[in-house]
Every structure is written in structure tokens, then in C-alpha cells.
Amino acid sequence: MIDWQSERRSREERLRAGSKFADGKMVAADAATALLEAVTRPGDRICLEGDNQKQADFLAACLANANPKVLHDLHVVQSGIVLPEHIDLFEKGIAKKLDYSYSGPQSYAVPRALNSGTIELGAIHTYVELFARYFVDLTPHVALTVARSADREGNLYMGPNTEDSPTVIEATAFKEGIVVAQVNEVVDKLPRVDIPGDRVDFVVAAPKPFYVEPLFTRDPASITETQILAAMMAIKGIYAEYGIKRLNHGIGYNTAAIELLLPTYADKLGLKGKIATHWALNPHPTLIPAIESGWVKQIHSFGSEVGMDAYMRARSDVYFTGRDGSMSSNRMYCQIAGLYATDLFIGSTLQIDLNGNSSTVTRDRIAGFGGAPNMGSDAHGRRHGSEPWLKAGREAVDGDPRLMRGRKLVVQIVETFSEKTIPAFVEKLDAVDLADKFKLPIAPVMIYGDDVTHIVSEEGIANLLLCRTAAEREQAIRAIAGFTDVGRARDRKMVEKLRERKIVLRPEDLGIDPLDAQRSMLAARSIEDLMHWSGNLYDPPNKFRNW
């Protein structure tokens, strides 16, 4: 007899074992570790929810306190290795194998653990790629999620921090897995239901509200004039040139500068309504002046941002807000939106090689990928035309226009030197050496050169779409690499030819007055300015308050 329902029986056993520590679905905080030991089995795939923003921090600490004799060899499948407890799981032997996406704050700890054999690495994914695997070969047996509040039935309210939860819970709950939620409070009536209670097995009211990282807040006070110059070139040479209305911005001061130049510099160019109207974007505080000036029609977000709740609630024409008035985010949906429905991704990086490959890996540091490789890639499944997409496609290929694919604009914007005078342009990515050192099957490349359409630095724009040979591509990149070794090794004659073909564009080629590259051009020059722009609805986290 074939057993077709072993997973269901396993789930029932786990529920029975867990129910000893619960009153209905409710579990006391001090019983949470015992609950996790009861519902989890050695070797299970487990997802501790936590991405680059919200964290199931209490449940992570409870799991890290489990007895390694009871719980061991877990396979962690989660988007973020962010908390110290995530590393503790491996050091204590509770977890063994890891498949993940992002490790910002633990980016030094992960390679150390790989080196010592504490972590056995499956792969480093982009978010949407890991989520896809939740439904194919990495379905969690146990998911530890996090919500703002729950009712006694286990219905969950997540508010603006919906993020990864619907995806993780869908995969786990419908494949006979166990879902445990940490909540800030248990209430009689929720503002809205983000996760129906029949998908949630246990609820723990945590002693402290869950942690959220304000990852997308960039202080305008730190934006430099060279960043402003590069941002002006991106606006005039790319956004205006292609008519980019639908877009995604990465995190960084360069893209924050673009956001803060929309109501000033871009307005002076007469671009309002013609560019940057529809966004797949986290709630960046630096976009507030553009929103308040009527530039932005609509924004869908991957996650939330600390301090932005009241502002988003008050700007429901712009953000996706629930019937209760609070914003809803969804990382899976927004990643798909960024992949298929935007015409431009622009982001910063740490290193770019002569082929346009870029990486945020440096020696001994693996930050993972997050969402950038997904945003920063051309969707080969896309079939709808748009002016920017078609224009980029025509630039990329010579041939029959009826059979020509469009191209998403994938733009890397960098300063030729970082603050510590480390060059952004290199002959060889550190990622290649790191792959050798840690025996990774492929080098952790953030965005492959064949997906990159433009590179912008303060020296100019390299349009890689128009390059027809590897040599042209290399010289186009050298031409904007400034006074780095890569830049100084350029072939001047060839660069002049590339300039004539508009493959290389300098500020003077774009008619940009360098005297406009001043901080007074930024719509907001401090966090306090952003707060004022928002009519005091934006409530900046304390670490950004210096007044």
C-alpha cells in the first residue's frame, strides 16, 4: 500500500505535541522554545521570517535557545540572515544547511561560518527565486512568521509590513507544514486580515514589538555634489531620453539624489508627468518631495519603511492601502512588478568590471543579493511593448524590427571612487576570488554585464546597448571610469569615436551646467526637511534625528 498522506499525519502529530504548550492557538512567551522543539523535527526545512526589513526576532531567539540534542541539522530556507541569532543556530548545531538571499548585517559572519564548515551552503538566491523554490523543492516544514497583531482565531494583521509573509505562509500551510506567528499583541478585532487564521497554527505574544530595520532611509545631508552631477546625467541622458515612466530605484545616495532632483532640476527641464510616474519601490522618504510636488502617480512596495506609516495612510492615492487605511506590501508581487512592469532599474554597486558585470561582494564579505538581480535583469518572458523598452531594444540589435525584443533599461550608477578612495571600476571582481576561496560553483555576481544597458558615473554615461564589440564595450566603460587605474588606461582615440556615436556621453555633451551640481539643487537637504515636506506625517526613526 502506498501511503499518500504521511505529511498530513506528521502534521497532526506535530500539532498534538505542540498543543501541550498552547491554549487553543495561544502560546505563552515563556513556552515558545518548548513549542518549537515540539513541532519541529531534526532535518526539517525551516523558515524564520526575516528579510531585510521586519524580523521574527523573538521566535529566532527562542529557536536559538532550543536543545541541540532535540533539534539539529535543520535546513534554513529564508530570505534574510540578519540577526545574530540566525548565526547562533548554526554555531549551536541546531541548523546545518542554508539557502538564503540576503545577509546585510551578517555579511562578515556568513563567510566565516562557511569557512569553518559551520554552515553548509545550498545557494544564494534573489528573493523571488527563493520564493519560487518554496513551491518546488524548498517548501518549509515549519514557518515562523511575524505580525503586528492577531486575534484568538489566529487571524493576522501585518499592516505595511506584509512583506514576505503571504508567500512563506501559503507554501508552508498548504503543504502540511506548521505556521507559528509572533505578534506584538493579541486583540479582539483586527484592523484587517492579512493572513486567515486557518493557515496559522500557533500564536505567541512576544514580550517586545518585532524589530524593523529602517533600511531605505537615506539622509539627504550625506549626498555629495558629484552624486548630484551623476544624478543630473541620469535624469537628462536616460530618464528624459527614453521617457521612463515606470521604474524601480535601488537603495543608495546616487538614486536618492535622483529622487530629490525631480521637483527641482527635472522640473526645470519640463519633465513633470513625462518621467517617473509609476513605481515599484519601497517607501523611500527621499521620494516625499516628488510625491508632494505631484510627480508620482502610484507606488507599490516590497515592504514598509520605519516612520512612513502615517504618511502612506494619508497618501492613499499614491500607495496601496487596505480598506482599513494602512498600506499593504508584498515582496513577491512587487518583485514580479519590478521584473515585468517597469522599464528601468537603477542601482548602485561596489565593483564593476570591464564587461559590465557588477558585484557588491568584497574580500571576506558576502552581502547576498536581495532583490537587485531580479530588478536588474531583462525579463525574457515580457511581451508588452512600451516606448522605452522598444527604443532600448532597437538600440541593442540590428535587424528586423518586427522580430526584435525590447530591452529593460538596467542602469548601474556609481562614483568612480568610494568615500575611502576605493575604485568602483576594476579589472577583476573580488567576487571571482571569493568564489574560489569558498568553492562556490559560480561567482556571486549581482548584475551580469549582458543585462546592464547603461553605466553612469560622475564622468559620464556609457550606453552599452549601442556597443557592437567587446572592445567598444570595454572602452565605453573605461571612458567613464574617471581617474581610477581602469579609467586612466583608456584608448583616447577610441573613446572620442564612441563619443561621436553617443555611446559615451559627458556632462558637456548633455548640455549640463556643472554649476547646477550643488546641494542647493536638492529638494530636501536633511531628514528634517523631509519631515517638513510631509506636513510632519513622516516620523523619522531616532537614529536619523539630530535636531
Partner: protein, 103 residues
């Protein structure tokens, strides 16, 4: 304090009539640039005072590139450096020559 001096003959005399201009500030990571239209024809002279030693080649590359692209003939340029990155130096030079070209 290290001083460097570069002399060039630019491709042409810089347009505009402005006699002097000053841009930037002497601060850490920044620089002050004084531009004076005092030299004959397409002559150009750049004097640099910098607290940081060991970057002579980079300074030369920055000044060469600036003269090549912006043809600042007729200018004596004095740079008071506060340890600025080459990209910042280049931006200030571009801004200075734009100021000199304005009426």
C-alpha cells in the same frame, strides 16, 4: 604642504570675459579653486597646494584631462586642496571654467 605646478598650452582661449572666479571651500575632502584670466593666448598654468603627498600622477592626469576637454586658455588656476578625491577636483575645475565663461 606639497606644491605642484603644471603648464599647458590649451587648444584655444577660454570663452567669456570674466576676470576672476572662485569656487569651492577649503575643507576636508573638498578644495578651493581660484581662476584668473591673466595669461596671454592659450597659455594655462595650474598651481596646486595639497596636504597629501604621493598623488602627483593623479593630479597630472586630472589637469591633463581638464585642459584637453575644457581648453582653459588664458587662465592661471590656483588650487587650495583639502584632500579632495580626483572626481571632486574635476567637478570644481568644470564649475570654475563654467563660471569664467559666464558674462
Amino acid at each position: 604642504m606639497l606644491t605642484l605646478k603644471f603648464r599647458h598650452t590649451a587648444k584655444r582661449r577660454l570663452a567669456g570675459k570674466r576676470v576672476t572666479a572662485i569656487i569651492g571651500v577649503v575643507a576636508s575632502g573638498n578644495l578651493e579653486v581660484l581662476l584668473e584670466r591673466v595669461l596671454p593666448g592659450a597659455e594655462c598654468e595650474v598651481d596646486i597646494a595639497t596636504p597629501i603627498i604621493g598623488y602627483d600622477e593623479t593630479w597630472k592626469a586630472v589637469i591633463d584631462e581638464f585642459v584637453e576637454r575644457f581648453a582653459p586658455g588664458g587662465l592661471r588656476i590656483s588650487i587650495n586642496d583639502g584632500g579632495a578625491r580626483p572626481d571632486t577636483v574635476f567637478l570644481r575645475l568644470m564649475q570654475g571654467s563654467a563660471l569664467m565663461e559666464k558674462v
